[in-house]
Amino acid sequence: MSPAGREVTITIDGREVPAVEGEMLHDAARKGDVEIPYFCYEPKLGDPVGACRMCLVEIEGIPKLQTSCSTPVREGMVVHTRTEQVKEAQNSVVEFLLVNHPLDCPVCDKGGECPLQDISYGWGPGKSRVIDEKRHFEKPIELSPLVAIDRERCILCYRCVRFSQEVSEDAQLQLIERGDRTYVGTFDDRPYVAPFQGNITDICPVGALTNYTYRFRARPWDIEHAGSVCTICPSQCNVSFTVRDEKVKRVISRDNHEVDDGWLCDRGRYGFEMFDAPERVREPQLKGGAVSWEQALEAVAEGLRRAGGKVAAIAGDASNEEGFLLQRILRDALGSPHIDSRPSRGPKADVLRRLAEPNVSAKVRDIDEADAILVLGTDPLHSSPILDLRVRKAIRRNGAKLVVATERPTALDGGAEAIARYAPGQAAHFVGELASAIGGSDNVATPVAETLRDAGKVVVIWGERIAREDGAAEALLDVAAATNMSTTDGAGLLEIPDTTNARGLREAGCLPDAGPGLSDTTAGKSTEEIREALISGELTTLVLFGADPLRDFPDTPAWEEALTAADFVLTFSMHDNATTAKSDVVLPLETHAEKDGTVTHPDGRLQRVRPSASRPENVVPNILVLSELATKLGLDTGIDSQPTAFQALTNAVTLYNGIEDEQIGGRGLRWQDREGATSARTGTEQPGPGGPPEGGSPDTQRDAPISMVQPDPTPRGVASADPPSGGPSTAANGDLLLGTYRDLWAGPVTELNPPLKFLTPQQRVEISRTDAERLDLKSGDKVRVNGIEAEAHVKERVPAGVVFMAEGVSDGNANALLNGGPVQVKIEKLDEATA
């Protein structure tokens, strides 16, 4: 395709329409308000396939009708979309489509919002000449536990299959058979289980793919759509809730190119069913039972006053306004500097400020145009799923070069040009080496540095957890410098934090050493120091807002101890859990379908969470709870509503100064991009050269060489010298080094959610083939790992000497094994796998 961009004029139906050379005629027509019917065209799915033939138009000078979805615009093109010839073609395509379609609209979930219905009505011949038998399939059947497929309704537009091939690249959903026997299916009729499968129900233009969670729940005329932001993970995808009788019945994408590209992961799509779980905290609770709000707030105020300043707070899942109010209560009402919003250690405020510099920050859309992408210390599929799709797209469509540097094999390895595996605990060491290797030194990181050196626009997607290691964040800034990020437009760092609104909470002031806007402040204790202080008695009281340390924070035993030692624990929580069980007062949190507030995307985009569904009767807006609590503690915040809270936030946070609610609107606003942002970059995106996509597609595994990074011989390193494979090797006593990761599906979103329950992960220990052989293990064997029972899982790509286990699972949570340093584990075999 030619490097597009030139403005041209074309004529459609006798009208001149401006267009961009090279764009598809269909798009140009749409912009010129000419509607051309279509089924298969969907630019998000990659190149047009021209399969449905619905979009045929007449182009002067070409004898045959052409598909407007696949015809690039040229200057002076004269197009007709309403001639007799075109009408005949449209009539016949609709007639053909209905030859095999059951026309069971009255009982079809898609009825009323079905493109096939609309197009048949608008462009079809209006009557059918077909009297022959249609094709029959068993219907509907289970494509997966979440999605039903009715193959009789399918019009074989291939959208779903292309999604699986070209977007999620799981390649599980395929066309089986040929011709009119073709059907959409999976290998050996197994369920389609992949983290993004729900998207296929959004893009299917007929009622062939429907959600079990929505089947027969509502009809288009008795629902409303309410836009909000999903805050289940830091991706903060834009969603639209389908609401009926004030309850959420469905979640669909609200397509924000800047954030999610119009896709959702299944956690975000189906997670809403946990809103109504029996475990939901629906009213204030004191130890011993439900109480009125009056009693609860009295008890809380009393408990906090009694602490006499020996109080700390940790925020987790909270809006900016909630975080802002919480830190005000701590600092200004209770006189305590001890507040944090991170599950574990993190960089100091001065480093955070440098990381927040707009000129080293990347926005999500920069990934699309990046020349090289470094995924560092995170597996986006698990920690920010939507970015996994974004990186794949950059490789597939833009030919971006990917480098993966992680402890654990990632879902993106197959598309990587170079991969580095460092041992758990070696991130800081590795990143340091990487910075100097990019700068020209020859060291362990050289093989991967080569792809990044002089690469042009480099986007680094890095996991917050690498910064638990001292010096890692500083080294990351050295990488930024070595790749000239600050002077390269479209290059930058993009953090994937551990919690959903981490950036917003930090910027709102929920940090031990920085106040609102990352301002200087009296230093307080960080999360781990708070824990130790509770144990030692230096602190007596703890406020947890949307945080569940017993599940989510490292070192569960220490947290158990801390919570037990505390005199008074106040927990704001959406659900009952182990932490609420140990709390003195539990107050209900709103869900993201109920809450009103703003959150800040990891790239700095302020987004608005809007109330879409009704709250349970005794759940009240959390900002009101907090401001009332402040009043009770003698602090008048002047906040009595979301607008006043937002005003107070933007006044206090310099980065947000002057941002108006309307500017955020439905699409959000990056504070770095707003008008008058002092430190914001001014550069606009240059349209990239847009070279042709690489011939090979990234779902063909690339077999990137994996370089094993030698452990740092000094502190915290892995034992043993001269590892045979070049990787960390087994300690002399046969112990293995433990690496952990947060599994996508671990947590309440699967456990408390009937439709997703089947995805609830169980603990397993991923082990290399070498170690498995040595320990005589095979996949499926039951083992015990330092007291935790798990299933062994032999993985080719796991380096020898290391094992990986999941955090956040309900049984055998690996957080219980972590203690802030490297952890060696012993593996005992319990039972053979049953064949």
Binding site: P48, V49, G50, A51, C52, R53, M54, L56, K64, L65, T67, S70, E88, A89, S92, V93, E95, F96, L97, V99, N100, R129, V130, D132, E133, I155, L156, Y158, L175, R178, G179, D180, R181, T182, P692, E694, G695, G696
Partner: protein, 442 residues
């Protein structure tokens, strides 16, 4: 001995089984001398020019100038490819089978020389999976050619490389369509691609790709050896050269006959293929495989057998395969057989072809069962019209054209069959030694 009407160039010496071996090919046909000369003495442009000048038209169906197509490939050092289309799956066509079976080295030499013209470093022969025997023969011949240094790296010390892979399909007519062939060769389902981009610009693995039929490529060594002028000495002005014509159906001597293009069709069918069985007459014939609109005997027998004459008569020469229907063949049943084939082979990617072939078959089935009315005949006709020109590739048209022509030209026969299906005692017309059981009244 070849018949006087035959002009054997591609099939010269083909009766000798030795021709299949490298030695035999060298001895009998001067094999690989042209390749040697081309590689050692000729530039890409010279070869290209010779091919263009010859006027050689593609023998795979579309009849496009081979030299011109090769000249469309962009220059530059990107990887370029050559694909030999040996998928031959169109009903009535079996000439490529004969050429590969009897003279595999001629094809290999042609490919190697064409690769020079296309500047391709990698060539593939995509052969239909059913032609297992022929694929084995090709495999052996390719191995011999590698051994002798005609393929591989640094061919004959000329610093040129060519890898040649025989790739077996697995049973799908659509893979003969050039872009579907590319998808199949890339390991995917054989679905046609949108054009443009044309394969010459963006084909296999996204690189410029020249795709030619077996017979087209088999002509190449002869043209380069003896020159474009020599080649143009055969055939007509617009259809130069000889053509291997497959004749089958209701004739006494079905088989492949190599003739100069432009010979009277009647001579091909009567003098070479022996004409109809004793006591029967020719009712109609497909002049260019099952995709070509049928011609009634009186319309077609006296036409010269050339691309232009067939096009003028509203049909086409296609792959050059004549299927003869004698007076026992029931045209409605023939239409159904034809439609069934395309229905079975439709890849299913685009709607008009997938559903149009399906619907047509269902309607024709009703007709021969006597469950249709003349209105259905109109619907069948209009459905064929609705398919033509609306599909992603021309497979749909390939059914719609012949079926449409049959309904148009033999309407009364359809009406008769619809009214009296029982009159057709055995719709499975048996030509050889079968009782007189055919067509209602024709």
């Amino acid at each position: 001995m070849a018949h006087r009407l035959e002009k054997r160039v591609l099939l010269e010496h083909a009766e000798d089984p030795d021709l299949r071996t490298l030695d035999g090919y060298r001895r009998l046909a001067g094999g690989y001398e042209t390749l040697e000369r081309a590689y050692k003495e000729m530039e890409q442009d010279e070869v290209l020019q010779e091919l263009e000048d010859s006027g050689l038209r593609g023998r795979g169906g579309a009849g496009f100038s081979m030299g011109k197509k090769a000249s469309f490939l962009p220059r530059g050092d990107m990887a370029k490819y050559l694909c030999c289309n040996a998928d031959e799956s169109e009903p009535g066509a079996f000439k490529d089978r004969e050429l590969m079976q009897r003279n595999p080295h001629q094809l290999i030499e042609g490919i190697a020389i064409a690769a020079l013209a296309a500047d391709a470093g990698h060539a593939f022969i995509f052969i239909r999976g059913e032609y297992d025997e022929q694929a084995d023969i090709l495999d052996a011949a390719v191995a011999e050619a590698y051994e002798a240094g005609y393929l591989g790296t640094n061919i004959l010390g000329c610093h040129r490389d060519l890898e040649l892979v025989v790739h077996r399909g697995a049973g799908a007519y659509i893979c003969g369509e050039e872009t579907a062939l590319l998808d199949a060769l890339e390991g995917k389902r054989g679905n046609p691609r949108l054009k443009p981009p044309f394969p010459a610009v963006q084909g296999l693995y996204g690189g410029p790709t020249l795709i030619n039929n077996v017979e087209t490529l088999s002509n190449v060594p002869h043209i380069v050896r003896r020159g474009a002028e020599w080649f143009k000495g055969f055939g007509t002005e617009q259809s130069p050269g000889t053509k291997v014509v497959s004749v089958s159906g209701g004739v006494r001597k079905p088989g492949n006959y190599e003739v100069e293009l432009g010979i009277p069709t009647r001579e091909l069918i009567y003098d070479l293929a022996g004409g109809p069985e004793e006591g029967h007459e020719i009712k109609a014939f497909f002049p260019g495989g099952s995709s070509s609109p049928v011609l009634k005997a009186e319309e077609g027998l006296d036409l010269p057998y050339s691309f232009e004459a067939m096009a003028e008569a509203g049909s086409m020469l296609g792959s050059g395969s004549i299927i003869v229907c004698d007076d026992r063949v029931s045209i409605p049943h023939l239409a159904l057989r034809t439609a069934r084939f395309y229905h079975h082979e439709s890849c299913g990617k685009c709607v008009p072809c997938r559903e149009g072939t399906n619907w047509t078959v269902k309607m024709l089935e009703r007709m021969v069962r006597g469950e249709a009315t003349p209105m259905d005949l109109d619907i069948v006709s209009s459905v064929q019209q609705n398919i033509i020109g609306h599909c992603l590739c021309v497979l749909g048209d390939s059914m719609a054209m012949p079926v449409g022509a049959m309904v148009r030209k033999f309407r009364e026969e359809f009406e008769e069959v619809m009214a009296n299906p029982d009159l057709v005692l055995d719709p499975h017309a048996v030509v050889q030694g079968a009782p007189e059981t055919l067509g209602a009244s024709t």
